[in-house]
């Protein structure tokens, strides 16, 4: 499997739901396997200021979970999507309506920030059975034993499955999204190498940096760098997504 060079994050509804299909088509044209699409939430406890502000702008413009998923229905010119969300909007939709909304979309997996394995076992099992596995999250505080357990609880479906369903998400720094803590990449490199020692599945790494050299350093490890807050901030200035992504693929 060739390395997916970048995993971008977009906040659905920011700048607008209407713009989302076009942004996804651009990402696909650049050859990216997958994009994370964030469902805007009122209380994003794991997000930093940039994504909080984007979520609140999107909610203000009417980007409800239902409308976000409806805006993704029928898209063919899109990378695989990973739905990034908090658990409450999913629970309020309910399993069956959620599955009906997901079915016509390019969503291939769910990254639910505040849903540890085991808290909603029935819900998670039904989603997995329907083709929407939960992405395992590995934080700086996740011990090696716990990481092994988490990777087993949300297993790799195997090489036949797309990146969006196989990868584990490595939160490489403490804190909320977008929180870069200096430019020292050594801890990030060490963390990725440790995790590569316990799993062969693809890793995506969120580490709060977005400069090309740092992204290259992650790729050099054989892992996919995530670009979230920096991309959302760039798009807010009106910069075209093609330019934003190309600058980070070099």
């Amino acid at each position: 499997m060739t390395l997916n060079p970048l995993l971008p994050f977009l906040m659905a509804g920011d700048p607008s739901l209407e713009a989302l299909p076009g942004l996804l088509a651009e990402a696909r044209a650049l050859g990216l396997d997958a994009v994370e699409v964030g469902l805007p939430h009122s209380d994003p406890i794991a997000d930093g200021p940039v994504l909080q502000a984007a979520a609140h702008r999107a909610i203000g413009r009417g980007a409800t979970p239902r409308r976000v998923l409806e805006s993704l229905a029928g898209l063919t010119d899109s990378p695989d999507l990973i739905l990034f969300t908090y658990v409450n909007p999913l629970l309020q939709l309910g399993l069956d309506p959620l599955l009906r909304l997901l079915e016509p979309t390019p969503v291939r997996s769910l990254l639910v920030v505040d849903l540890p394995f085991g808290e909603e076992p029935g819900f998670e099992a039904e989603l997995r059975a329907a083709g929407y596995p939960m992405v395992p999250l590995l934080a700086p505080t996740t011990t090696s034993d716990r990481a092994k357990a988490l990777l087993g609880q949300r297993p790799d479906p195997g090489p036949g499955a797309p990146f969006a369903q196989r990868f584990a998400y490595v939160v490489a720094r403490l804190g909320v999204t977008g929180a870069g803590q200096g430019t020292d990449l050594d801890p990030v490199v060490a963390r990725v190498r440790d995790l590569q020692g316990i799993t062969a599945r693809p890793l995506a790494v969120g580490f709060g940096l977005s400069d090309p050299a740092s992204l290259r350093a992650v790729r050099a490890l054989g892992a996919t760098p995530v670009i979230g807050s920096a991309l959302v901030a760039d798009l807010t200035t009106g910069r075209p997504i093609k330019a934003c992504l190309e600058a980070r693929l070099v």
């Binding site: 209380d43 979970p65 309020q92 505080t141 716990r146």
Partner: protein
């Protein structure tokens, strides 16, 4: 259920509570549960906590008979559990001090806390000053304005008060920001959550450190009246005071009642009454009754009382209510203000606006035929003087 934990994580027939936390916080929460269990089993910790509660907090707090208010309302007897006389002026110090001791035991040097009315923030700042821990308190800007004296008190105790401007600038946003801060500093900092909510083990931890209220009150009322009252009443924001008072009366077959903030209307956004306006949902790490819109976005809330102005009822209290073990009522802003004035005039006690919501239930209880009532006076009203001045035209 998350089997990584040892203590039960869920409450009641509907399985409220749980641990809906970001992965970064899972190991710190597991560590906290382990430290809590070890502390409960350690006579040294228990002795230290007991000594601090006695000599620093001033426990036991009195149980004060309130005969003039009782007569005015048509009750035979009324007893007030005086948490307003605990050091820093509210029940919050019981939990803040205990968690600060626990944090020090865990080797943590920094403390993070949220606060609504400021009572938990003040209590945490005081406990940190006493134990030599660094303290940062997150507080919504709306609450900072309406509870300004408490902001000054926290700063005097050496705490850093961080204003939170997001949303309505109240307790919900303060908890959001405190959780974010903890995720960034969880290797050196402990988060002292002040209400019986949040991800496991916080709801259990907080209420375990608050049941001293009900344990004392139960013994005191026996001593003074020779019998238990017919009803025990507390106000309920998240539920630390409500559970702390009500849980020790669980086996007594009396009415246990919690009073929520009815605000200024019954529409979503005009109150903080979760029982008849809320639906099951997940906020701040636990599954509970939550004021929210159909999309799962947390609703706005309103109450004259900053400490009750929160969209979720703590999971254990919500479970007790849903399982029919605790009754929940609501009191409006105006009813609470009137009840505060009446207590001041008849007994010479100035209650916090939160506690005034419990007081506001008394006329209805008397009308329903209750003769003897024990009421949790959770805090003192000095912090609310500016609200009383403007709303009661003093």
């Amino acid at each position: 259920m998350n089997d990584a934990f040892v203590l039960p994580t869920r409450f009641g027939a509907q399985g409220l509570g749980g641990c809906y936390a970001p992965e970064t916080l899972m190991q710190p929460l597991l560590d906290l549960e382990a430290a809590f269990r070890a502390a409960l089993d350690d006579p040294g910790f228990q002795a230290e906590l007991k000594a601090e509660l006695r000599h620093f907090v001033g426990r036991p707090t009195p149980l004060t008979p309130a005969p003039r208010l009782a007569a005015k309302l048509g009750l035979k007897a009324l007893y007030l559990k005086r948490e307003d006389l605990a050091h820093t002026g509210a029940h919050k110090i019981n939990n803040a001090l205990a968690q600060a001791l626990l944090a020090r035991r865990m080797g943590r040097t920094e403390i993070i806390a949220e606060t609504g009315a400021g009572q938990h923030g003040v209590a945490t700042a005081a406990a940190c000053a006493r134990l030599g821990l660094r303290c940062t308190v997150y507080m919504g800007v709306t609450d900072m304005a309406r509870q300004a004296p408490n902001v000054a008190r926290m700063r005097l105790f050496g705490a850093t008060v961080r204003p939170v401007e997001a949303g309505q600038g109240t307790l919900k946003e303060a908890v959001n920001e405190a959780l974010r801060a903890w995720a960034g500093h969880c290797t050196e900092a402990h988060y002292i959550l002040g209400s019986a909510l949040g991800p496991h083990p916080f709801p259990t931890l907080v209420r375990s450190f608050q049941t001293v209220i009900g344990e004392e009150a139960r013994a005191q009322v026996f001593e003074q009246a020779g019998a238990l009252p017919e009803a025990v009443v507390a106000c309920a924001g998240g539920g630390s005071n409500g559970l702390g008072l009500l849980i020790p009366f669980a086996g007594d077959g009396l009415r246990r009642m919690a009073v929520e903030a009815g605000g200024h209307g019954r529409a979503l956004g005009e109150h903080a009454a979760r029982l008849d306006g809320g639906r099951m949902g997940v906020l701040h790490g636990c599954r509970t009754l939550l004021l929210q819109d159909e999309h799962g976005h947390t609703a706005e809330t309103a109450s004259v009382s900053a400490g009750l102005d929160y969209p979720a009822l703590g999971p254990e209290l919500a479970a007790l209510v849903l399982d029919g073990k605790v009754e929940v009522r609501r009191a409006s802003d105006d009813e609470a203000l009137a009840a505060a004035r009446l207590l001041c005039e008849t007994e010479g006690i100035l209650p916090a606006l939160e506690s005034s919501h419990a007081l506001a239930l008394l006329p209805a209880l008397a009308a329903e035929g209750a003769a003897t009532v024990l009421l949790g006076l959770s805090g003192r009203g000095d912090k609310d003087l500016s609200t009383y001045q403007s709303r009661l035209e003093l």
